[in-house]
């Protein structure tokens, strides 16, 4: 018998939980998180969830929040608060075993890229503060592409697709 612990950190309490419209929806999300952890444990790919990757990417977001116009040496605009908030949502919602392959970059038009280089595929996501456009490729084939709001259900779908096609 194994024991799994979910830590109710500030991000979970303030940003993720308020998005659920019902207790059932939250239970479903927790169930999915648990399934991902168990699946990776069974495959021997389980990493100890130290929160290191989430911390790494949150530090990156903090770094990007301090950028000013001209960060590329020319006239690139700094990422907007809204775009960074979208990135923060992804970092707060995706599991560590996905985040370990992810990087966040600024774009010259005040947007943000969320990129993932997984063992079997790639995620390319563009966050403009309003929507997220993403393309998920596995074995050089597009397995998922959407233009969507950055909200928990969409992130859950994305996490499932990454786990199914690009990691497991």
């Amino acid at each position: 018998m194994r024991t799994y612990t979910f830590t109710l950190d500030e991000r979970l309490v303030n940003q993720i939980i308020p998005q659920f419209k019902s207790a059932e929806a939250m239970e479903k999300w927790l169930q999915r998180e648990l399934e991902l952890i168990i699946a990776h444990h069974a495959n021997g790919t389980m990493q100890v969830d130290t929160g290191f990757e989430r911390q790494r990417l949150n530090s990156r977001i903090d770094e990007l929040s301090r950028l000013v116009t001209g960060w590329d040496g020319m006239t690139a605009q700094a990422p907007t608060e809204k775009a960074l908030s979208q990135a923060s949502m992804l970092v707060g919602s995706l599991p560590e075993n996905i985040l370990r392959y992810c990087a966040i970059f600024p774009s010259n038009d005040a947007s943000v890229y969320f990129q993932g280089k997984f063992p079997k595929g790639r995620l390319t996501a563009y966050l403009n503060g309003e929507t997220m456009t993403y393309v998920l490729k596995a074995h050089h084939e597009i397995v998922d592409t959407k233009k969507t709001e950055v909200a928990v259900p969409a992130i859950q779908d994305l996490a499932s697709a990454i786990a199914k096609h690009c990691i497991s």
Binding site: D72, G73, T75, Y101, F105, P106, Q115, K117, R122, T133
Partner: protein
């Protein structure tokens, strides 16, 4: 036929086998933790203080035109000098990645390489076809998944070849 006043159509076309070099003008273009390159490394930008000058092409170096390492170092030095030298910030320059022209063309049929008018031989322009008679000007419309895929394909071409540039004070000569 597409036309652009910056293209020198009289010059020979860039061969598929030619090794090209893309400079990355900020550490923000490369993530050492995951070995990924910022897609913006191949985006087109808005230039100038009024941001009213859209880039038509991404400039790429021609590795075969450098006769020795000294010339290559001269080219890399541009990373420190083409961006506003008066406001020089060491964080503005990181290094470069290399790729073959043919591999980039295989990423998307929108990608074209052309020599530039009035330009030295050591670099050429990477253009993006918008339609049968037009090229994109910067920034690219990145809400378009096709554009995202194209930029991702280009960025992944160079991610395993990233070289940090030598520190400025270790350069051999000023350009």
């Amino acid at each position: 036929m597409r036309v652009d006043k910056k293209i020198d159509y009289a010059e020979r076309i860039v061969e598929d086998s030619e090794h090209l070099l893309r400079m990355l003008c900020s550490p923000l273009y490369y993530d050492e933790a995951t070995g990924q390159v910022n897609l913006d490394a191949f985006d087109l930008r808005m230039m100038g203080r009024l941001q009213d000058q859209p880039e038509h092409f991404a400039s790429v170096g021609r590795d075969g035109q450098f006769h020795d390492d000294n010339e290559r170092q001269h080219y890399l030095q541009f990373g420190y000098t083409v961006w506003d030298d008066k406001d020089w910030n060491p964080n503005h320059y990181y290094g470069y990645g290399t790729f073959k022209a043919g591999d980039a063309r295989a990423v998307s049929n929108r990608i074209e390489f052309w020599p530039l008018k009035g330009s030295a031989a050591y670099h050429v322009g990477l253009f993006y076809a918008k339609s049968e008679d037009e090229y994109f000007k910067g920034p690219l419309p990145k809400e378009d998944p096709e554009i995202l895929l194209m930029l991702s394909g280009l960025a992944s071409l160079i991610e395993d070849t990233i070289q940090k540039a030598p520190e400025r004070n270790k350069m051999l000569h000023r350009g």
